[in-house]
């Protein structure tokens, strides 16, 4: 059998082996290599537990026999090949399945609670264990997006955006478990599809079907902003319908020619919006100016930004997840396409802790966990949903959440590696 010379390397000093070339069978797969490393480690220290490893060659995960991979990547088999190995990522462990009354349009979780937006015109707060804590009703239409503004032990601020063209800013008193609508943010002329809170927790932006991107203050006040009403509008009727004080936008950013499907703050001063007009636009939140435009050729459903790797991930109305460098000035905007889904990618979310990992939900009912170092195949497929996946989230604690049209919110515990579980 053909042999290859390989040199093994790892970042993790716990599993470091000697930096000498080894001769390995050319047809060996991940399991064989993992076995080899484990043998080496066992030979070095007696108290070694078996650890599964994953192997990277030039930043790409090894998923096929070694020689096949090297042929595909055009790596010379004559020279010593450097193989990096990392502890194998554990499969996400399913934790909870939270049942809703209707489709789940959005989810956002913190360390303690999960906030979901639902098509039954409510937003709901759940504990991590899946216990329903609060149902926030107030919208007259489908809740399209929800977001936490700030949390402290006594009260939390949260916002919900709805198809009824309003965004409600709620205050949730944790102790009393009471929720109160503080402000009704009016100004959009279409379904508000996406909201995002900035890192200072004082502002948020919203993107709507009416092609507008609006920036609002997230600070609760007692005054009501004046709003120029249409003259023929029955003011009285409005009053009775409305919850909370009216709030008008701080700024309106127009520039998209189609509905805005997703917004986010990429840093304190920059807003990123993805739209149906096939563009992702970066805005300066202070001046309201358009900074740059990334043009795709499909409708964007969702966009996510990772400050760790400074990449944008977009899900659009085709099968691909595309990674963008928002700061690149040259023509090649799409850095990488992750292709494995068979339906529209409705939602993408970067890992807040890992610079290479993200999850995506798609209309093909599958949530996929990706590592950008393995763009041909995802790390794991989470095929629990029975209908379209509409939203995904990834908390800092390593909780993966996905909600969809089957009214179920699935939670997965994703320990980055096996050793993390033990730690």
């Amino acid at each position: 059998m053909a042999q290859l010379t390989a040199r093994f390397r790892t970042e993790n000093p716990r599993y470091a082996v000697e930096d000498v070339p080894f001769s390995v069978p050319a047809a060996s797969e991940t399991a064989d290599l993992s076995h080899l490393i484990n043998k080496l480690l066992a030979a070095r220290g007696a108290d070694h537990k078996y650890v599964e490893f994953d192997f990277l060659i030039q930043g790409q995960f090894l998923r096929v026999p070694l020689v096949t991979h090297m042929e595909m990547e055009n790596i010379s088999t004559e020279e010593v090949v450097e193989i990096e190995y990392v502890e194998k990522y554990m499969a996400p462990q399913p934790e909870e399945c939270i049942f809703h009354d209707d489709w789940i349009s959005s989810v956002q979780a913190t360390e303690e609670w999960i906030l979901t937006g639902c098509y039954d015109q409510t937003a709901r707060i759940w504990s991590l264990e899946g216990k329903s804590i609060m149902t926030i009703a107030g919208h007259t239409e489908v809740v399209k997006d929800v977001a936490w503004v700030k949390q402290d032990s006594l009260s939390c601020l949260l916002i919900s955006a709805s198809m009824d063209q309003t965004i409600l800013l709620w205050e949730w008193n944790v102790e009393k478990n009471k929720v109160k609508a503080l402000h009704c943010c009016r100004g959009h002329a279409g379904s508000v599809d996406s909201v995002a809170v900035d890192c200072t927790r004082t502002k948020f932006c919203s993107g709507s079907w009416d092609k507008m991107l609006k920036i609002w203050s997230a600070v609760p006040t007692d005054e009501e902003d004046e709003m120029e009403e249409a003259a023929n509008r029955p003011r009285k009727k409005q009053k009775t319908e409305q919850l909370g004080l009216t709030r008008t936008p701080l700024a309106t950013l127009s520039g998209h020619t189609e509905a805005i499907s997703s917004v986010l703050w990429s840093d304190a001063e920059e807003i990123c919006s993805a739209s149906w007009d096939h563009t992702i636009k970066l805005w300066d939140a202070e001046t309201g100016g358009l900074k740059s435009t990334l043009t795709g050729n499909k409708v964007f459903n969702s966009v996510s930004y990772s400050p760790l790797c400074r990449r944008l991930a977009s899900g659009s109305t085709d099968r691909h997840i595309r990674l963008w460098d928002p700061r690149s000035k040259d023509g090649s905007l799409v850095l990488l396409s992750l292709t494995s889904h068979t339906g529209w990618v409705t939602s993408v979310k970067w890992s807040p802790t890992h610079e290479h990992q993200l999850i995506s939900g798609s209309l093909d009912n599958i949530v996929k966990l990706w590592d950008t170092r393995s763009c041909k195949a995802p790390l794991y497929d989470l095929a629990a949903h029975e209908d379209k996946v509409l939203c995904v989230d990834w908390t800092e604690a390593g909780l993966l959440l996905s909600g969809g049209a089957d009214n179920k919110l699935y939670c997965y515990r994703y320990p980055a590696t096996a050793s993390d579980v033990g730690a």
């Binding site: 009416d210 249409a230 459903n301 109305t317 085709d318």
Partner: protein, 739 residues
């Protein structure tokens, strides 16, 4: 000087007449011949009397006289015989005849005189005595054997008997021969100046002195010319145009072109070269076996592979003459004669080349390729679809008696509106500022406000509808406008337009105020046009032109398209006249769509960035409504270019079963057709702004997904207003979105 001498000698020698004649007779020699001839001539011809030489004349003159007088002149004979020819004897013709000095006069003048003239001494010369009468003459003629050669000398009147030589001379002259017998007229010519260069020159004279002494005269002439040239009086001669003038017949002929005579040249068919079987000693495998020979003999001559039997001979000498030679030559001649010497004018075309070059579908992106969403909820076949102008909502009408409103991007059913009957047609108001859906249910059109989208918008729509003030006098209308009850109002129904018969179709005008309905009826009340704001209906046609299948408003112009079973009629609503009648070339039109490019702000709503990405979108849009597609139940799709003709520009037969619906995309150059075979075929239909360029139609995708139910597949297709997506509704109760 010599003449007198000779004369003297003549005189001396002359003795007798006899001798004279004998001497003449004797002198047949060369030397005297010439003089004798002169003599004869002189006697024969009077005109030449001056000619005779001085030397001869005395002799002759003397002779007749002597002969008459019988006093012969012997010296004459001697002189004639003896004297060397004197080359100057008869040198001059000026000399007078010394025998008779009368000169050259007619001798008749002396007829009546006894004399005939005068001699040198001036004495009369007397005529000879002529006493002979006729009898004497006769006797003499009879007796004298020399009578025939006796002539009379007119000058002297004497009779002269010609000698044999003289007679011969006369004969020769009569024959045109030379007088001298010995004269050879054909002597060999000696050529002095021949082409041959001789060693010695003909003349070897030294060159003239003048040839090397310059001539003063010429020098003077030359200096005059030089002076004249210097003074400019003489101009140098213009150089002669020495380009030859001729016409080049072949100047414009392409040397590479094949001339007609060459083009038509058909070479004679070549004969087959002899092979081994023709050999006198062929290899044994070429020799026929017995059976083969038998078979060969039994075959028809025309069927034989070989027209001879290969044979083996010991040596070439033993080969006999070939018996079929003449026959084969004849056959060959027949071949040549009967060979068709004309090229067949047949075009060899590769069938592949006849297929028009169409661009690859890959290059015509974007177009829907895969099924993205399925809108489930209807329990029966979904007959009709309509998308809101914003593209956010989709309305579908079904046989289960409901109208459902869907969120396009999630396939969420937002609203279900039971209408209590089969929904035949549904149409979202194309005006983006009005939120109204027209629904055909049995005999009535429901105008439904779905209360979706912008609150302001649908609130304003309600206000517009409520602000209707009925006119004072009641107008006779073919339909009834009924305001919805409060229960209906809560469901969203605002108005009901009740017709007398079941409805087939409803369609809005682009502005969103008028809508047209088609009644399933064969009367002239088939098509009605309604105005929503005034709640007023009218019947545009007085006569029925056939069973109306569907109607459409032109997107911007006041045209109205009415499709009957076989024709599409285009009416001008302003002028109220028929503008065009399109022949659909199919048996039964089912559906129709008008090319909408450029409507409602047109290109402006297409994102500019998209224009950059897809070059096909970059061209400015042509005026809309010039292209119409018709689907028919005989599975054809006809594309009409109204500018071209009233017949289909192209007839597409891609579906296997009847077409149910056709649709154009508002901005992208796409059109789609849904058929009973369960497929939706998306075609690229590029219409160019340049009127000279015909539309480019390329089928790009067959979209499958619907299951056949009750032999029905796709019932309606609609494009998304802004994205290259197509919706299809099927008999399986689903609506599908392809992107």
């Amino acid at each position: 000087m010599e003449q007198p001498l000779e004369l003297e000698s003549d005189d001396d020698l002359t003795d007798s007449e006899e001798s004279v004649y004998s001497g003449l007779e004797d002198s047949g020699s060369d030397s005297t011949n010439s003089s004798a001839a002169e003599e004869e001539e002189e006697e024969e011809d009077e005109g030449e009397q001056e000619e005779p030489s001085n030397g001869a004349a005395p002799k002759v003159k003397g002779a007749p006289r002597k002969s008459k007088a019988l006093g012969a002149d012997p010296p004459l004979k001697d002189s004639e015989g003896l004297s060397v020819p004197d080359e100057y004897e008869e040198d001059s013709s000026d000399e007078e005849d010394i025998r008779n000095t009368v000169g050259n006069i007619p001798m008749e003048w002396y007829q009546d005189f006894p004399h005939i003239g005068y001699d040198l001494e001036g004495k009369r010369i007397y005529k000879p005595i002529r006493n002979k009468d006729e009898l004497d003459k006769f006797l003499e003629k009879m007796e004298n054997p020399d009578y025939w050669r006796t002539v009379q000398d007119k000058m002297t009147g004497a009779d002269i008997k010609l000698t044999d030589e003289q007679v011969d001379l006369v004969h020769r002259l009569q024959k045109g021969q030379f007088g001298d017998v010995h004269f050879n007229p054909y002597e060999p010519a000696i050529d002095f100046f021949t082409h041959e260069v001789m060693i010695h020159p003909v003349t070897n004279r030294p060159a003239d002195k003048r040839s090397f002494i310059p001539s003063l005269i010429e020098k003077e002439k030359v200096s005059k010319l030089v002076h004249a040239i210097k003074m400019g009086w003489i101009k140098p001669r213009k150089p002669k145009e020495d380009t030859p003038t001729y016409y080049d017949l072949w100047a414009h002929e392409d040397p590479n072109s094949i001339l007609g005579r060459h083009k038509m040249h058909v070479p004679a068919p070549k004969m087959k070269l002899p092979g081994h079987e023709e050999s006198y000693n062929p290899p044994p495998e070429y020799l026929l076996s017995e059976e083969e020979k038998l078979a060969w003999e039994q075959q028809e001559p025309a069927e034989r592979r070989l027209n001879f039997v290969p044979q083996q001979y010991r040596c070439l000498r033993a080969v006999p003459g070939y018996p079929r030679f003449i026959h084969e030559r004849f056959e060959r001649c027949l071949d040549l004669y009967l060979c068709p010497r004309q090229r067949k004018m047949r075009v060899n075309v590769d069938p592949e080349d006849l297929i028009p070059k169409l661009p690859k579908p890959r290059d015509l992106q974007p177009f829907p390729t895969t099924q993205a969403l399925v809108y489930r909820g209807h329990s029966s076949l979904v007959r009709c679809l309509s998308v809101s102008p914003s593209g956010q909502w989709l309305a579908s009408g079904s046989d289960d008696g409901t109208v459902r409103f869907w969120e396009v991007c999630t396939a969420r059913c937002m609203k279900t509106l039971p209408v209590g009957g089969v929904v035949k047609s549904i149409a979202w108001n194309p005006n983006p500022t009005i939120c109204l859906v027209a629904v055909c249910v049995e005999q009535s059109v429901l105008l439904v406000n779905p209360c979706l989208g912008d609150k302001l918008l649908y609130g304003a729509t309600d206000q517009v509808l409520e602000s209707y003030v009925p006119p004072e006098e009641e107008r006779v209308q073919p339909v009834q406008w009924v305001t919805a009850t409060s229960e209906e109002h809560s469901r969203g129904i605002r108005l009901t337009v009740q017709h007398s018969k079941a409805l087939k179709q409803v369609t809005w005008h682009g502005k969103g105020d008028y809508f047209a309905t088609v009644v399933a009826d064969n009367s002239n009340m088939q098509v009605l046009i309604h105005q929503t704001s005034k709640r007023w209906s009218q019947n545009p046609f007085r006569k029925s032109k056939g069973l109306v299948q569907c109607v459409l408003f032109h997107p911007i112009r006041p045209y109205f398209f009415v499709a009957t079973q076989r024709y599409v009629r285009v009416y001008n609503l302003l002028k109220q006249e028929l503008t065009k009648k399109l022949m659909a070339n199919c048996k039964w039109v089912s559906s129709m769509a008008i090319h909408p490019a450029g409507t409602d702000g047109g290109a402006g709503t297409v994102p500019k960035v998209m224009c950059g990405v897809h070059p096909v979108m970059d061209v400015p849009f042509p005026p809309p409504g010039d292209n119409v597609i018709c689907g028919s139940y005989d599975s054809k799709l006809a594309w009409f270019d109204l500018d071209l003709s009233t017949r289909p520009y192209q007839l597409l037969r891609h579906h296997r079963k009847a077409l149910r619906s056709v649709a154009f995309h508002k901005h992208y150059p796409l059109f789609a057709s849904g058929s009973d075979d369960g497929t939706v075929i998306v075609c690229h239909g590029m219409v160019y702004n340049d009127l000279l360029q015909n539309p480019l139609l390329v089928p790009v995708k067959v979209l499958k997904g619907h299951t056949l139910t009750m032999d029905l597949g796709v019932l309606d297709v609609v494009f998304h207003p802004t994205q290259p997506w197509v919706f299809s509704s099927g008999a399986d109760g689903t609506v599908r979105l392809y992107t």
